[in-house]
Symmetry: C2
Subunit: 207 residues, 2 copies
């Protein structure tokens, strides 16, 4: 097979187990779309308890979405999936191969898995009644995280390396909808300007 | 310069801003030692408030350790630092370059940044009075995380790829000291057996 046919074959095989309202799934939908990868969305009905079903547990013992299937690979975790897609299909731009640049990008992937997950994402989930927890504590973490991001973006167009990378992709969805957790974005002008730049990328899809 | 001299020059330049009792710093000390990289430990006195000092804030606006300095690169975040070291110095084994294997390893790096940080690490910090929070909730998350890990390790020697990788390194310290957060390890025999395998690696250093 030619590389083009191989690429098309892989693209056809990509399936995403998805919940439309999940910011973690939105990261993967955004990465897939920015990379121009055809894929099939397979909706999971969490209201009907499908996350805990034996079929879904077989895909992901953690009982969560997103789950990506690409050929014989099944991956869980939004960060791991976006990193995999960026590495496999991103031609070295969405995930740099130079070790220092790679390390810098990974700082913000961790920021997404830790500060954003425990801040704006958690505040949004508590506010919507989907998860239990201390709304005020999550909001305080969200404000701190957004402040650090805003300060970092004061002199930069993108989080690292001077172009959009997987770091921008995974940090976008939950910071964009911070207001849904009663975390106002108006004092973070650099973050909202960066949101605008992400939204202007070719292939952008809204959360 | 020959590659050996270049490598020695880089090795001499590695410095780690460190707190001995921090599991996040322990991940980096372990990664450095397993890779056989000479480095200088620069202790940070958090009791004296050094994390919030202007000098440390200049290194890391987040006011945290670990911070690694390698030549002109300054990196924060234990996961990002270990990934950087594995990619730069690990000769493709500690962090696979094959995209599917890389994605699988990254699932457990995220697990360290999320489930382990919010579970055993958080329970330990609350128990010691270093952070505020709900000890019972952190312990419940810790038990769930250790259960998922134990199940995963039932038929595996290492978390992914059949050999020790950066995933094993970043998941080791806080799971090893789970009992310090009153999270007993006795029901997780696969995890404790895996701890033993990590401890038998050439270059292992205890937390």
């Amino acid at each position: 097979m030619t590389p083009r046919i191989v690429a098309a074959w892989y693209a056809r095989m990509i399936a995403l187990y998805d919940i439309p309202n999940s910011g973690n799934c939105a990261k993967v939908r955004l990465m897939l779309s920015l990379l121009g990868l055809e894929h099939e969305l397979r909706p999971i009905d969490y209201v009907k308890g499908e996350l805990a079903s034996p079929a879904h547990r077989a895909r992901n013992p953690f009982g969560q979405v997103p789950v990506l299937v690409d050929g014989d690979l099944t991956l869980r975790d939004s960060q791991a999936i976006c990193l995999y897609l960026a590495k496999r299909y991103g031609k070295g731009g969405w995930l740099p191969e130079d070790a220092p640049a790679f390390g810098r990008v990974m700082q913000w992937v961790s920021f997404s898995a830790n500060e954003i997950a425990n801040g704006p994402s958690r505040a949004r989930g508590i506010k919507a009644g989907r998860i239990a927890g201390d709304l005020g504590a999550a909001q305080a973490l969200a404000l701190r995280a957004l402040g650090l991001m805003d300060q970092h973006l004061a002199a930069r167009l993108w989080l690292e390396t001077g172009r959009a990378t997987v770091a921008d992709v995974v940090c976008y969805p939950y910071t964009k909808v911070a207001a849904e957790g009663d975390v106002p974005l108006d004092r973070f002008a650099n973050v909202t300007a960066w949101h605008g730049r992400v939204e202007a990328l070719p292939g952008f899809v809204a959360f």
